[in-house]
Amino acid sequence: MSTIRILGWTSTGFRCPDHEVSLEKPSKKPYAVTLIQMPNGTGKTTTLELLRASLSGRTQWGREELLALRSRDQPRTAVFVTRLLVDEKRATVRMAVDFVSRSVTFQTTKGGSKQEGFKPPTAVARVFTPEFTPFFIFDGELAQRLLDENGVRAEQAIDAHFQLSLLQRLSVLLTTYWEKMAAGKAKAMTGLTRRRNRLSDLERRRKVLETDRAQLLITRDSQSIERDRLRADWDEAFNRDRTAREQKQHLDQEHGRAAQNVERAVIATLELARELHAVAPNLAAEMVALRDNLDTLKLPEYAAKEFFEELAAAESCVCGEPMTEARRAAVIARKGMYLGQEDAGVINNVKSDIKVFVEGQPDAPSGLRASIETLEGSVRERDELATELLALEAKRLAEGDAEIAEKKSRFDAAEAQLSKTTLRIAEIDRAASPDDGDDSDCLAAIIALQAKAEADFAEITKTRETRQKVGELAEILLAAVSKARAEVREELVDATNARLKGLLSLTPIRLRGIGTSLVLDGQAKASQGQTLALGYAFLLSLFENGQLDLPFIVDSPTGALDLRVRREIAKILPQISNQLVLFTTSSEKDQFVPILHAAAKGNLQYMTLVRLSEASLKLLPSTSDSTRIQKTQNGALVCSKRFFERFDTATLDEK
């Protein structure tokens, strides 16, 4: 449980007399009870208002509302400083009002560091709000408003005090996370079915292609065997003619040799074609020119880095301007951005390579040309031999042997089938292209498309799942708020009724429930005294059940209570809070203060704050003890039980 104590406050420039109140004992612990007597017109209401404002960071004020706080001396500014102890750590809130610009600003000091603005310690932030401060800086009006449906929101106070707002804030946080995550994915959220179907189609297509491929490989093997068998048949029939056989063997050998020549020529030509200067003679000339230019510029020997060093030492810059110290420093600082040793090494290698490979091989272009010519000759020879073979076969067929013709025909058909199968396998096995669609025959393309579709589907599924999960949590938190609120209210109603029974035994009232405000059982309103008693009973229950040990500051604690109820209230008030600060008038002392004194077991201090006037000066005790009497330019604060008890407004009025 967090403990909050008010150690005191200082007020300067406001309607109440300037004063400094300390609620601390010499031991630095705050008094359990402080009674502050302020005659009517001394600014009691103003002081309470300032305490509420300074503990809620209120900056929004109406013009008249703000001017009503101003001292009669019409100062431009006023300051109210509240000193706090939160969980044994000191904090200060300074509220400054500028009546001319009508602005209210705050400064907070915590742990020795000063911050602009109202920055209360985290432990109290949820109750140091405009909505909650009236519950612990309390007056009779709040008691009335507790019963008003449009008045103080008991619901908000309960939510804040019992931390129900934490659940709501966590829910908002999770929703914000979801919104950030889903930002830009609205489109992706639609078409889940379409994406799922596409993924299934691609999966199916992949399986079809894999099955086809496996089948085609088997088919190709058997077609290849069949083709070879038919080839052998055809060869056997062809070779029955000896002359034709010998011619064919010769042509086959020659064709094989020519094909090997083509292969060798291709390799040699490609090797030569790798030298760019051999492919493009102009490029060779340009590369030589580049090397010559580098020599002319003395690069890299005279590297730019060194150039800038020399330039920095010169009297004037290359642009003609004098070389000032600033320019010199800039040139030195930036010289490293230009050519250095590593760059020079690269340039030297380039120059050397141009010399060896370009200038050293002036015949490279003609060598490539010769190689291409050789390749062309080899291809021509191979093709001519192939044509001769075909012509020989045609001649053999033309001799009219039906068996040969049939075998040739069957061989050709088998060759065509094998070729078709091989092409189909090649199409399945080829590399993917960007043009491939979902109906492609290329297995690699379908696999890539499937992977992308799977990623798309996974992302959309994850996004949707996250939305569902965030929704689940939001429902849980909402249900928890509802459950907790109902339970807290029930406990508060029972506890409040139990207290009311003791307080108002002669004129009983009962609380039926808590909605946005308190709801009485069987009656809409109650007397002023009953309402004040209800307020105390409710707040006592509220504070007893919460997690904060708050101070309780009350304006006119007995109000319209009759004497019997006053006595009861005096007994129970010290139970509401471990720190009570009660603002009273002299008329409230009867049947209250002595009983309160006893209930507080003497752990209380008495203060009387009066506005300085001729009349009040005559009443002040004649002492120079500053611990007993503190005077400011317009007020006096007397810390004395005797003075408190004897002080009578009527006497002051007479004087």
């Binding site: 985290t122 934490l166 659940l167 914000t176 928890a480 459950k483 339970e487």
Partner: protein
């Protein structure tokens, strides 16, 4: 300042009623507890993504049927 017992109980009950595991309740309560003590922020920032994802990893996204059955069970309760 610790989280109020009423809040702790309400979160546990709500988690149970929605068919979520105890791990969900434990993570929620730990987070709320830290927020109540002032050692965790409850305003969204990107640094909290890991914590949120950890929380979501133990949440079960129920089907419509499961939600319906859970709500009927809750009513009976």
């Amino acid at each position: 300042m610790a989280l109020h017992r009423v809040v702790v109980e309400a979160v546990r009950k709500a988690c149970k009623a929605s068919g979520q595991s105890e791990a969900v309740a434990n993570r929620l309560i730990a987070w709320l507890e830290q927020a109540a003590r002032g050692s965790a922020e409850l305003t969204y920032n990107a640094d909290q993504d890991t914590r949120i994802e950890d929380l979501l990893s133990v949440v079960t996204a129920r089907s419509e049927l499961e939600r319906l059955l859970a709500s009927e069970g809750g009513e009976e309760e």
